[in-house]
Amino acid sequence: MTEIATTPETQHRTSNRVQLALVGILLIGLVIAPFTLYPVFLMKVLCFALFASAFNLLLGFTGLLSFGHAAFFGGAAYFTAYAVKEWNFPPEAGILLGVVGASLMGLVIGFFAIRRQGIYFAMITLALSQMFFFFCLQAEFTRGEDGLQGVPRGHLLGFIDLSDPLNMYFFVLVVFIAGVFAVWRIVNSPFGMILRSIRENEDRAISLGYSVNLYKLAAFVMSAGLAGLAGGLKALVFQFATLTDVAWQMSGEVILMTLLGGIGTIFGPIFGGAFIVTVQNYLSTTGFPVTVLTGLIFIVCVLLFRRGVVGEFNASRLAKKLGLRSRS
């Protein structure tokens, strides 16, 4: 998972070419998909894949396990839904408000959480997000148990009617690509390298003169903001925002998606998100309890393959043949 790139230049180039090809195939698939599959389902997949990618920015590339990302996802869903429904914001402004709100929440929660490390960090983020859950349960603007319902999708930039499923799908797709690209860009920037150095050896990073806490907080806020982007989108896709989005189970779900797909890989969370959403979608028609399966996948991942599906693939022989191994 954390191998250092020591491959020769030629292999590097093939690896880039193969990766580009894979991205191209994925993109073409996503453009064709809504014509064969149910768009709302696909949009749900994209929202959760973006959410997991945002989460992975923190866990995979900074080494911080947040157990409270539902607060940013669900919080942004509430902000967007409220702004669009009650203040008649256009969709893009509503989503922007959700992102800003989630980032501010990330600033506050991150400020407290980065004071401790490891397990404590996880517990603090969990506790603070639970606090936000109780706030949402009691606050007026969230409409309590009912949630905010009947949120209009509105017109994007004033002329694209988002109530049309295909328009909405391509809007979600564009935002998704932009979000994942942002994660990729952050991770592969000098800033991202410092984040990785914090993940690998925090003391060393401190002794090199980096203000580690500032970097951690910045990563936390970015991750929260991107999670907010996913949450705001989800509110528009489903046209409601409810307490399930801020509950701690949601925080657990996004961890699972990332873990299953592969912590610290770009494609892992996308795969994990798609897989979990598909399984949930399938199981909801049968009587089988979803939480049991979710828990079982968790246990299997932790005990047997901690690198996740994409992580295992990257470490496999096939990946080596394609020259992908150098990129982790």
Binding site: R115, Y120, A127, F134, Q138, V292, T294, G295, I299, V302
Partner: protein, 315 residues
Amino acid sequence: MFRTCPRRWARCKTLWGYDAVIMIFGIPIQAFLGQLLIGLINGSFYAVLSLGLAIIFGLLRVINFAHGAQYMMGAFVGFLLLSWFGVNYWLALLLAPVVVGITGIAIERFALRRLYNLDHLYGLLFTFGLALVIEGGFRYFYGTSGQPYETPKLLSGGVNLGFMYLPIYRGWVVVASLIVCIGTWLLIEKTKLGAYLRAATENPKLVQSFGINVPFLLTLTYGLGAGLAAFAGIMAAPIYQVSPLMGSNLIIVVFAIVVVGGMGSIMGAIVTGYMLGILEGLTKVFYPEASNIVIFVIMAIVLLVRPAGLFGRDV
């Protein structure tokens, strides 16, 4: 200071037959003491649960997310023993922790043990998955509605303390939890087994080289922690109903309590548990809207002032 009864407390007039009620900060003393007692009872559960978490964390370095599920299992084992075999409360009080403790031992022996050499976060994730499986399974079979568990005859009824009515069972919960907490503390601080445990917490390799079976100690510790959670569960059964999700929100509050107390000392976990329970009860009197979040707010304040926790040693 005597003041007339405000309208919201009009009921107390008929209950107590007073025209005037003793007030503390504008709150009738009955309400005040009543919430204090509820706080103390909640604190009893918090103390036993955070004690179990602290013991497990101290030795295994694992945050046991399944603690809430094990608490629920304790209540369910008691409930099922009663409805299937007619086992009474007192026997269940003994059997439920043993049964859940044994499942804990099995879990440690076959799964948790494999994760010790890895990042501690994997232990948290594993027990989280475990909690989902246990709670999801029970919910599948028993639904989300609560099952009533009758208070044992010996402890039903209540006494009039003059200023308030105390249900005997609730008094028993406070006493029993104190006994268990002090007992566990004595076990760890004053016995040979406890000395081994403490030594293994400080330096497992050294203790093992002295010929003490540390892996067995770890297994035993996880069983003990799970058993403590189950004990809290069976005690809670007559007060709250037995339901599959009874532990899932509670455990997060207990996590916050553990952060407040710090993981350094067993006594710290116990004291913080009672303290925050009472504080939560008092919040219900003065500002009910905040009673759900007061513990989390305190956690945030403690993190600002003393990041290691009130009783913690590590920074």
